[in-house]
């Protein structure tokens, strides 16, 4: 019987797609767990170093590191962290939208923009957008090493020290939970004191005792700080990517299931109609004899 051949083949192709999406969902789910563990592992360090640095920013040190000085903003640097691969819902697009909004604000104030991208989606986007792309890094995989990022971070830090850029931001997805990721624009340089977190009594002119020299120590510490923040951003973004992909693939699998159900119903109806018609014809033929 030739009824509904198109429908049958359509159901078949949707079933194949569903197999792929459900496989991707399971792969993402298992990767997500590992990515979240990694994110949680490096979280305490990134948090503590941020606290220490915000203390330093609040102190009144004998030696003012260039990273602590506010300058007139003529040029702004962005480190944009994205995923390497797509199929993870609106994750990257939402991130780029948030970044573009921030970029626009600076451009309206007359500042120019330098962009450094991590992940191939970001570099593709900003190449098309026509931003000034100074560095791009991609292909980090699921287990990035801090040493992989040093190069691109250094480009931006050097630019800051030479006075080419006056502000540095990092843009990445903040992991809230498996279902929710939020684009986040975080200021790296100049250092920001964490506002209102501690009592105001400390505002008076206090300073650390430094061992060995303040300059040497702060140089090392601040570079380590920036690296750890960028590393944390990358690790967190990977956890976001895997959870977003898992959620996107789950809904794709569910949609495919619904689609198949609907088509199956249409197919069954068509087949039933054809059978009924045939019987009617036979009965009609018999009556005519």
């Amino acid at each position: 019987m030739a009824v509904g051949k198109e429908i049958r083949s359509q159901i078949g192709s949707i079933k194949n797609t569903q197999k792929i999406t459900s496989a991707m969902q399971m792969v993402a789910a298992s990767k997500m767990r590992k990515a979240q563990d990694r994110m949680a592992a490096s979280h305490p360090y990134a948090n503590q170093i941020r606290k220490v640095v915000s203390h330093i920013a609040k102190a009144t040190p004998e030696y003012k590191h260039p990273y602590m000085l506010e300058r007139d903003v003529k040029r702004v640097g962005y480190i944009i962290v994205s995923s390497d691969r797509g199929l993870c819902g609106g994750l990257n697009i939402n991130l780029f939208k948030a970044a573009m909004k921030d970029l626009k604000e600076w451009q309206d104030k007359g500042a120019e923009i330098d962009v450094c991208t991590i992940g191939s989606k970001a570099s593709a986007f900003f190449r098309r957008y026509g931003g000034n792309l100074v560095a791009a890094k991609s292909g980090l995989g699921d287990t990035p090493k801090a040493s992989d990022l040093v190069g691109s971070v250094k480009v931006m830090l050097d630019a800051y020290e030479e006075g080419k850029i006056d502000r540095l931001y990092v843009v990445y997805n903040e992991f809230i939970n498996t279902m929710t990721q939020k684009p986040l624009v975080q200021q790296l340089l100049p250092l920001e004191a964490e506002a209102a977190e501690e009592e105001e009594s400390k505002v008076g002119g206090w300073d650390y005792i430094y061992e060995p020299e303040a300059q040497e120590l702060l140089d090392n510490l601040l570079i380590r700080y920036i690296e750890s923040q960028v590393y944390q951003a990358v690790v967190e973004n990977i956890a976001c990517e895997q959870s977003a992909r898992m959620v996107a693939m789950k809904s794709a699998t569910d949609n495919a299931g619904n689609f198949i159900d609907e088509l199956q119903l249409v197919y069954n109806k068509a087949r039933q109609a054809a059978i009924t018609q045939e019987i009617a014809e036979i009965v009609g033929g018999a009556a005519a004899i």
Partner: protein
């Protein structure tokens, strides 16, 4: 009750200690430091060595630190280690092996390992062994 301060020891990979302590002893680049509550703010680099903290209940914990930073505020101390391990998790045989390898590399002028790398490896391995010995002494007491 003795005065206490909050202490955090974190490495790039994990959190090793978080709690209130009576005293913290660490090896800074310019010598051993003993930090008591109410210390004036201090910022220093750490060299490979042992961080010893005495908890409220009088129990002492030993942590090996490869290098990093120490920040002191009157009521908190923070150790930011590049890598760290609790003393009883250290592998003595591996540390000895690393020390021997580093010594060999230092003695052999044609070795592939760079001099600076070898010396830092030697210092780290020696510090690990010292930490293990301290732990033994503590347990033997």
């Amino acid at each position: 009750m003795a005065m206490t301060m909050h202490c955090n020891v974190v490495s790039a990979e994990k959190k090793l200690f978080d709690g209130r302590v009576e005293i913290l002893v660490a090896s800074g680049v310019q010598g051993e430091l003993g930090i008591l509550p109410g210390h004036t703010p201090l910022l220093t680099e750490l060299k490979p060595g042992t961080v010893k903290v005495k908890k409220q209940d009088g129990e002492e914990e030993l942590i090996y630190v490869s290098s990093g930073f120490l920040e002191v505020q009157p009521d908190t101390v923070t150790v930011l280690a590049d890598s760290a391990e609790r003393a009883h998790n250290l592998d003595e045989a591996a540390a000895k092996e690393a020390m021997e390898a580093a010594e060999r590399a230092l003695a052999d002028k044609n070795a592939e390992m760079e001099y600076a790398q070898a010396t830092s490896m030697l210092a780290q391995a020696a510090a690990q062994l010292r930490t293990i010995q301290q732990l033994r002494k503590q347990l033997g007491k």
